[in-house]
């Protein structure tokens, strides 16, 4: 044995070990003392990033939820109980989303959660909602290919945004050649897969489709834009379908404008550029480029006017814009309220049962309905960018006559999902295979 | 290192025609030097004469642009790196005392001990009886026996110098390079250091001492080499060298 060892054994117990033990104890105890929901209020969880990269989009959604809850309370709450918002910050960190979701459901005992923006954050919280059997309202347009019992998708599925936009370009602009330009993540990937299949089914030759991906936050668009320019000068009318995400859009549009690509030459239709994103761009060179959404701030209906007015009053900022995911939360929240009233209970199981079939007027003059596949019916609008940063609806001609398109969880244009169907009312299944007649995929 | 090499010289250290330049500045210029086994040599020279650079070359820190550096008659040092050279048996004490300040004196010596320095050997290493004895012996020689558990960082400047010499002893090299061992020492300490080095030398070790302190060099009483502008200016006994006109000129300035 080593001499020093004996000495070590004689070292007195150092305080820092006690400190460690004490810290552990405090940690445990304070966590036990979690607040129990008071009997006369019902808690509503808000799970949107308030810091980090996604704060840019999600902070607004937190504000709109606070406004909606505030408003509902002014009307007397739901089933005679006041609603109480519980706001957490998952800080644009995906595992933290899961942790916060668990905290909301088990510690704060919320009855429903409104939240998430990115697909990955939704994927991260999914298992939590399934395990703890709670409800999530997800307000953002997404790639589809999902239908879960505990999740209600109030944003657009690809068939409610991408396909109508492409149809418009084919019909109105006679586009023959397509650039599918996207940020490299799952939404653009899936959307572009669907669009590729769709375009081919419409007789577009493979060499007339160029698919290209760039990383998140990409800022040097010179090469990409000149590629588009080259591709667009093959003698056929060309359009760009952009699934470029958030931050990368500003430099993209700036480069487009500077390289002189005008909407009349090569129009760009975007699925992720809304009023909020345009607020950071000088839109004068972009007039005429397009976006496809289910809601535009510029749509002139009494409901929308009232909503905008209230939003300005609530945020005390007459310049705050409204956008599509905000409307999705508006619809989702009101649907939840109606479902609770229908079920006469806040119990998630009963509310989930009650939700399909609930109808709620949207802000653009139609009435959206929650479908058995947990997606909703939505009108599709194509808007052109205006010099003032707003969109001018160019399709349909008359906003009030917009057709409502039911959201399709499983795309008909992907080989893996064309046989799948989601129906939580009759089939009680999110991925029923119509060929094998079994729940649980077994497709492809 | 190739194992079979013929001895080309009887010298312990053999430098011939060595050149080094940094960005056009010739730090070492056609330097040649020969040390026989068991010899102790004092190297003097004004600042910038290339003394430390010479040490850097011998220990592998700096590669010469051209010239031969041969150790123990057969090993070409220019092809080896610091670790290999140290493993061969060349130990070095730095100009500025460099000890491991956050470790105890004992651990400093332990680290210097001439045992298996490979990773695995070090991980599973245990101190054996003879090794403990050696450390005790070195501690005794450098007169730090009472302070073995003190942190090296808390030692005085002179003590650090001694500790570093002690580390050289523990390392048990064939060739010791000692850079300014008495800087910052009192007269008594200086004398003790000279004794110590002589003692070391008497155990068949070859020693190179670089020093400014002429009293100290005189104390050592060995052959002296005077460097200037990277080359040998004069060589001989201390009296011969100090009588050399050019040496005087260099030291006193022109």
């Amino acid at each position: 044995m080593h001499i020093k060892q004996k000495r070590d054994a004689g070292t007195p117990i150092s305080r820092r070990r006690w400190l460690a033990a004490a810290a552990g104890l405090v940690l445990g105890l304070s966590a036990f003392g979690s607040a129990k929901a008071a009997d006369d209020t019902i808690k509503v969880g808000i799970l949107h990033s308030l810091s980090g990269t996604m704060a840019i989009s999600e902070t607004t959604l937190k504000d709109v939820m606070l406004m909606l809850i505030d408003e509902q309370n002014k009307k007397g709450g739901v089933l005679g109980k006041k609603l109480e918002a519980v706001v957490v910050d998952p800080a644009s960190n995906w595992p933290l989303f899961a942790e916060k979701a668990r905290e909301l459901i088990t510690k704060d005992k919320v009855s429903v959660v409104f939240g998430c923006w990115t697909s990955v954050s939704r994927k991260s919280v999914l298992p939590v909602f399934k395990e703890l059997d709670s409800i999530l309202f997800y307000p953002v347009q997404y790639e589809g290919e999902e239908s879960e019992r505990n999740v209600f998708y109030t944003g657009a599925a690809p068939n409610q945004q991408a396909i109508p936009a492409v149809d418009y370009l084919m019909k109105e602009e006679k586009v023959k050649r397509w650039v599918l330009e996207g940020t490299d993540y799952v939404y653009p990937r899936t959307t572009n897969k669907i669009l590729e299949a769709y375009l081919k089914s419409k007789g577009v030759a493979p060499e007339d489709i160029m698919v290209n991906y760039t990383p998140f936050g990409f800022s040097d668009w010179q090469t990409e834009v000149s590629k588009i320019k080259t591709f667009g000068s093959a003698g056929k009318k060309t359009a760009v379908v952009s699934t470029i995400n958030g931050d990368a859009n500003v430099p993209f549009y700036k480069e487009l404008g500077n390289q002189g690509i005008k909407a009349t030459d090569i129009p760009v239709v975007a699925f992720s550029v809304g009023e909020e994103e345009l607020a950071g761009i000088d839109t004068k060179p972009l007039v005429g480029h397009l976006a496809a959404w289910n809601y535009f701030e510029s749509i002139n209906t009494p409901e929308n006017k009232a909503f905008i007015k209230e939003w300005h009053a609530f945020t005390k900022n007459p310049k705050r814009t409204t956008n599509d995911p905000m409307e999705a939360h508006y619809i989702g929240f009101n649907m939840w309220v109606k479902a609770v009233e229908k079920a006469k209970s806040f119990d998630p199981d009963k509310v989930i049962e009650a939700l399909p079939g609930i109808k709620q007027a949207n802000l653009t003059g139609g009435v959206s309905e929650m479908l058995p596949n947990h997606h909703i019916t939505k009108p599709v609008f194509i808007g052109e960018i205006q010099a003032d940063g707003q969109f001018n609806v160019v399709s349909p001609d008359d906003v009030k006559k917009a057709k409502l398109v039911p959201g399709d969880a499983w795309s008909d244009y992907l080989p893996g999902s064309k046989d799948l169907e989601a129906d939580w009312v009759k089939l009680k299944c999110g991925n029923y295979n119509t060929v094998t007649k079994k729940c649980g995929g077994q497709g492809s | 290192m190739s194992l079979i090499e013929t001895r080309t010289t009887s010298a312990m250290l053999y430098l011939d025609g060595v050149h080094v330049s940094f960005d056009g500045f010739h730090a070492i210029n056609n330097l040649s030097l020969t040390l026989e086994p068991g010899e102790m040599r004092a190297i003097i020279g004004p600042n910038g004469a290339g003394k430390t650079t010479m040490m850097d070359i011998i220990t592998g820190k700096t590669k010469p642009d051209k010239g031969e550096v041969v150790f123990d008659g057969s090993v070409d040092l220019t092809k080896l790196d610091e670790t290999e050279i140290a493993t061969l048996g060349i130990g070095r004490k730095f100009q500025k005392p460099t000890v491991f300040e956050s470790q105890t004196i004992e651990d400093n010596l332990l680290l210097a001990l001439n045992v298996d320095h490979r990773v695995r050997g070090t991980l599973f290493w245990r101190r054996s009886e003879p090794e403990s004895k050696r450390i005790d012996r070195v501690l005794e020689i450098i007169k730090l026996g009472d302070a073995r558990d003190r942190l090296a960082g808390n030692l005085s400047h002179g003590q650090k110098q001694w500790l570093e010499i002690g580390m050289l002893l523990a390392q048990d090299p064939k060739l010791l390079l000692v850079d300014e061992p008495v800087a910052g020492m009192t007269d008594v300490e200086t004398q003790q250091t000279a004794e110590l080095l002589k003692e070391i030398n008497s155990h068949d070790k070859t020693v190179v001492v670089v020093e400014h302190d002429m009293t100290f060099v005189r104390e050592l009483g060995v052959k002296v080499t005077c460097l200037h502008e990277g080359t040998v200016l004069a060589e001989g006994t201390i009296d011969d060298v100090s009588a050399n006109e050019r040496v005087v000129e260099v030291y006193l300035g022109r």
Binding site: M1, Q5, F32, W94, L126, K193 | S102, G153
Partner: protein, 389 residues
């Protein structure tokens, strides 16, 4: 093998730390499983997985402390090893889903089905076996660290340069894993796990077991680190940290030592990542973000660099603070607190919590046992951590 390197590492402090970890690892899951929910001492399941996460972070912090605190290598890319370990485990968990994925494909994970993969990419082979995945958890981060370290240490890239290129490494991996063509699920990563070794990952029992395993891994990791730093090798590491070139002149092959400890540390980080994934239920490229790795370094700094216990404690304290402050009215201010923590700890508490407490106790200890005080402190290596390189 030689038991002395283990026994030597166990001083009183280490034993107490191990006891606390063991107690937590046994009592918390038991209280969760056995006590009724109404009991005041019942630990809810969500706390079990939350603590499990902290424990994984603590292992990561230990691994960073081993190289930074003891060898002066500041890696700003340790998150990469953590994530790689996580991905290896995630791949195993993905393969366990089998035909229960939404598309019901028995072989391909869901994301591959909807990206039209025809067959499983070759690098996914073998991950249906747990032993293979477990091996990869160690091997992949270890191998990357070995190759990276072999290049970097051999050419003597040190200090901030090393920090910057480790950051470049994790950044390059971040970009690579974001690519959907890379075959690891792109931005979404791997998620929706079902089973681990045949047990449902959601089940309370599995969570409790995973928590226990994490505590066990923390204890083992701690013992390994302790053994390393109390051996002679540990002294060499400190020597390298304080005076690298001096160590070389003593005949130590510094790059081999650095490589050894860097690879060991990467393997530990990989294990931490592997345990983390089933408990949080997702692994995605976000874990490679340079910011995450830097945040992990601050855990070590808060707890006390060069004190293994401090590193583990720091990880738990900072993450607990994060959990508390990202809820409720303080939510928007969390980043202010984190930022301030970075600044204040480096300015006012350079030794971290444990190091500072040790320093306070120093005179008191010195009085009681003057001779032993230093050796104890030395073994934690907290004295004068030389910050330069």
């Amino acid at each position: 093998m030689t038991p002395h390197i283990l026994t030597r590492s166990l001083n009183r402090g280490a034993l107490i730390f191990l006891l606390v970890v063991a107690a937590a690892g046994i009592l918390l899951p038991l209280s969760n499983l056995l006590l009724p929910e109404s009991s005041a001492l019942h630990v809810p399941t969500y706390l079990i997985s939350l603590f499990g996460k902290y424990v994984c972070y603590a292992i990561l912090a230990l691994s960073i402390d081993l190289i930074w605190g003891y060898c002066g290598i500041l890696s700003l890319g340790h998150g990469a090893f953590f994530a790689l370990g996580g991905y290896a485990m995630g791949m195993y968990l993905m393969r366990q889903i089998g035909s229960r994925g939404v598309y019901g494909n028995p072989i391909l994970p869901d994301f591959m089905v909807f990206l039209n993969y025809k067959a499983l990419p070759w690098y996914w082979y073998g991950f249906d076996h747990f032993w293979f995945a477990a091996l990869m958890v160690l091997l992949v981060p270890g191998l990357l660290a070995f190759c990276f370290g072999w290049l970097a240490f051999r050419s003597r890239v040190t200090g901030v340069y090393l920090s910057i290129i480790t950051q470049a490494m994790t950044y390059a991996l971040l970009l690579a894993f974001f690519r959907n063509d890379f075959g690891f699920g792109g931005n979404n990563g791997l998620t929706d796990f079902k089973d681990i070794l045949g047990f449902n990952v959601q089940a309370e029992g599995t969570r409790a077991a995973l928590f226990m395993l994490s505590c066990l891994a923390l204890a083992i990791g701690f013992l390994i680190c302790r053994s390393v730093v109390t051996s002679k090798l540990g002294k060499v590491l400190i020597a390298i940290r304080d005076a690298e070139s001096r160590t070389r002149f003593l005949g130590y092959r510094v790059e081999s030592y650095k490589l050894f400890v860097f690879t060991l540390s990467a393997c530990m980080a990989g294990v931490a990542g592997a345990l983390y994934v089933p408990q949080v239920g997702i692994i995605n490229p976000g874990e490679f973000a340079p910011g995450n790795s830097i945040e992990a370094v601050i855990w070590v700094a808060v707890g006390g660099r060069g004190t293994l216990i401090g590193a583990a404690l720091g990880a738990i304290v900072v993450n607990y603070a994060k959990t508390v402050f990202t809820s409720g009215p303080l939510a928007p201010y969390w980043l202010f607190m984190l930022g301030a923590m970075f600044v204040l700890v480096t300015l006012l508490l350079p030794k971290g919590i444990v190091g500072t407490v040790n320093a306070w106790l120093e005179p008191w200890k010195a009085k009681r046992l003057s001779r032993n005080a230093e050796s104890a402190a030395r073994e934690d290596g907290v004295i004068k951590p030389n910050m330069a390189e």
